[in-house]
């Protein structure tokens, strides 16, 4: 089980001080937050991708490459990489390069992006969102697995004898998650390829995600990648902690009330009741997060949203101390209890290389066995 954080990269005014960080400050803060994530023992840092203010992370592999050079263990990921408006050829190249530089500590999450005006800036149309996600990913998948690609599709100029460079590290492409909030088509896509499915469940009630994850697990088994319990599931979470629960509520309320996504709507109490948001003591965060397994089954990756709504960097770093020192160690221990042996761990490059080598050895052994049989028949 992997634990980490994901960031949207929003530049938001701190509602308690009226201060707005500059883009430069925010970018540097994101790097500091990623480094802190490693320092406190988290496994994953994921950044969003946006091409419009008030968001800064337009160039995720640049940022992740910089963070890779300043960390040793942290897995660098995205939340999400836009498979609709980015050229799949450029995604293949950028992330393979990052994978080499980071020594394999890279995976990525595909997303469509839900901001209509962004699509035409990149020559695309949001009404084609799902077909773009389907076709572009099919090409990306191919580019990472075949050295020479001939290809033609609807949305991109054809490729003749094209080789995407560098080739993936050790010949093993980065692990891919498919992120979704509401589309069963994306759960189906993740299942088809045997990729991971990340349900960003932080804003919606769990009943909806139970159905979406249930669909993914069933289809994962349907396509022969394993049992439903072996499907690779990631979940979002959103927390604000202080040792004393009342202090957490008092401090976080103005950020909640003015938050760009859900502010000026339901009360903090209603929202924490209906969604995974937890505002309280580390113990309360532990208890709420443990309920995710009851709802969705044993899973592989838990990412928390920690640095949004204008929270100052100092506060976010304090939150990460609590998360890394008091919450995650307990979660690791508790999630390990009663976890069936056949449920896979969170995906790593090393595990993928091992699996590839094992599958190749098995295929070779099978080929040898069948040629031995043929020899016997002839003899």
């Amino acid at each position: 089980m992997q634990f980490g954080i994901f960031t949207v990269g929003d530049v938001t005014t701190d509602p308690t001080t009226g201060r707005t960080p500059s883009e430069h400050e925010r970018i540097k803060a994101m790097v500091a937050i990623a480094q802190k994530a490693e320092e406190v023992g988290l496994d994953v840092f994921a950044t969003g991708e946006h091409h419009n203010p008030p968001f800064v992370p337009s160039s995720p592999t640049t940022m992740l490459g910089y963070i890779a050079a300043r960390t040793d263990r942290l897995i660098l990921s995205t939340s999400t990489t836009l498979i609709t408006t980015n050229d799949p050829v450029k995604i293949a190249e950028d992330f393979a390069m990052l994978q080499h530089l980071a020594g394999g500590r890279v995976d990525l999450m595909m997303g469509r992006g839900n901001t209509g005006p962004v699509y035409p800036w990149f020559g695309k149309d949001i009404r084609q969102g799902i077909p773009l996600a389907v076709e572009n990913y099919a090409l990306l998948h191919k580019l990472w697995r075949e050295d020479v690609v001939d290809w033609a599709g609807r949305f991109r100029t054809p490729l003749q004898s094209f080789t995407s460079t560098p080739r993936p590290l050790d010949g093993v492409p980065p692990f891919v998650w498919h992120g979704s909030i509401r589309s069963p088509e994306i759960a189906e896509q993740a299942a088809y390829y045997g990729d991971g499915f990340f349900a960003n469940n932080i804003f919606w009630p769990k009943e909806h995600f139970k159905r979406l994850i249930g669909l993914y697990r069933d289809r994962f088994a349907h396509y022969g990648h394993g049992t439903p319990e072996q499907a690779i599931v990631g979940l979002g979470g959103q927390v604000f902690m202080r040792r004393n629960s009342q202090d957490a509520v008092r401090e976080f309320r103005p950020y909640f009330d003015n938050a760009p996504v859900y502010g000026h709507g339901p009360s903090l109490e209603e929202f924490t009741d209906q969604t995974p948001l937890t505002v309280g003591s580390p113990q309360e965060v532990i208890e709420k997060t443990l309920t995710f397994r009851e709802s969705f089954g044993d899973y592989q990756r838990q990412l928390f949203l920690m640095d949004h709504a204008g929270l100052p960097l100092k506060t976010v770093l304090e939150q990460l101390d609590l998360l890394g020192e008091e919450v995650v160690p307990v979660l690791r221990e508790e999630f390990a209890k009663g976890r069936p042996a056949q449920v896979p761990d969170g995906p790593t490059h090393e595990a993928l290389v091992t699996r590839r080598d094992r599958e190749e050895a098995e295929a070779q052994a099978a080929a040898t066995a069948s040629s031995d049989e043929a020899e016997e028949v002839r003899a």
């Binding site: 799902i130 077909p131 389907v134 076709e135 099919a138 033609a152 599709g153 609807r154 069963p184 088509e185 759960a187 189906e188 896509q189 299942a191 088809y192 804003f203 919606w204 009630p205 909806h208 159905r211 979406l212 249930g214 669909l215 289809r219 859900y262 502010g263 000026h264 709507g265 339901p266 209603e270 929202f271 209906q274």
Partner: protein, 215 residues
């Protein structure tokens, strides 16, 4: 939030179920009064159970759904009741020349395909009969957009209709409209609850094949 009329255990006994959405704000409300009369007549003629949903009690959750994108627990229950019903009676007061904002907002947060094919009886209330065409110029197009099947008779009740003199005419319209809705509900196969429905999905090979065919 909801009240159950008629016999208990509606679906267990195979009876049809009609959802009644009323957007009246005052208590007692003439909109609720009209809704109740339409519900009683339809329930009797269709031998169906009726379930009344008072939007006033859901006003805050409807506004919150606009902001968050998902319904709170009571609103979700109401939406499930409406979208899984065999028929719908929808009644609004006339505000500023149209249905009320609360009435429209409720249907704004329902999935646009969820009422396709559902038989609907529309009703409205107002101070005078001058607003009665709101039913034809606002209500009927709203449900046409949702691809619901609106019965020919829409029922408008002005203050004067509640006076004893107008009582007979209103009663006759209620009865005619209810009979039209009951006939459509009776002709329709029974429906499954929406909660039990699994996520529908197009198999991935078909999604890929569709791209190749169009390309």
């Amino acid at each position: 939030m909801t009240t159950f009329d008629a016999n208990t255990g509606g679906r267990a006994t195979g009876r049809k179920r009609i959802a009644v959405v009323t957007a009246g704000l005052s208590k007692p409300s003439s909109t609720r009064l009209l809704a109740d009369r339409l519900a009683a007549a339809t329930g009797r003629l269709a031998e169906a159970d009726t379930q009344v949903i008072e939007l006033r009690e859901l006003a805050a959750e409807i506004a919150q759904n606009m902001v968050t994108g998902f319904p709170g627990p009571r609103l979700r229950e109401a939406i499930d009741a409406v979208t899984s019903a065999d028929g719908l009676i929808a009644v609004t007061p006339v505000f500023t020349g149209s249905y009320s904002g609360l009435f429209k907002s409720f249907f704004d947060v329902i999935d646009k395909d969820a009422l396709a094919g559902t038989p609907v009886l529309i009703g409205a209330t107002g101070g005078t009969a001058r607003h009665s065409l709101v039913l034809e110029h606002a209500m009927r197009p709203l449900f046409a957009y949702l691809r619901a099947v609106v019965v020919p008779t829409a029922v408008y009740a002005a203050s004067e209709d509640w006076a004893s003199g107008g009582e007979t005419a209103l009663a006759a319209r209620v009865e005619r409209a209810a009979a039209e809705l009951a006939a459509l509900v009776a002709a329709r196969p029974g429906r499954q609850g929406s909660e039990a429905a699994p996520e529908a999905v197009v198999p991935f090979e078909e999604q890929l094949a569709a791209l190749a065919a169009e390309g």
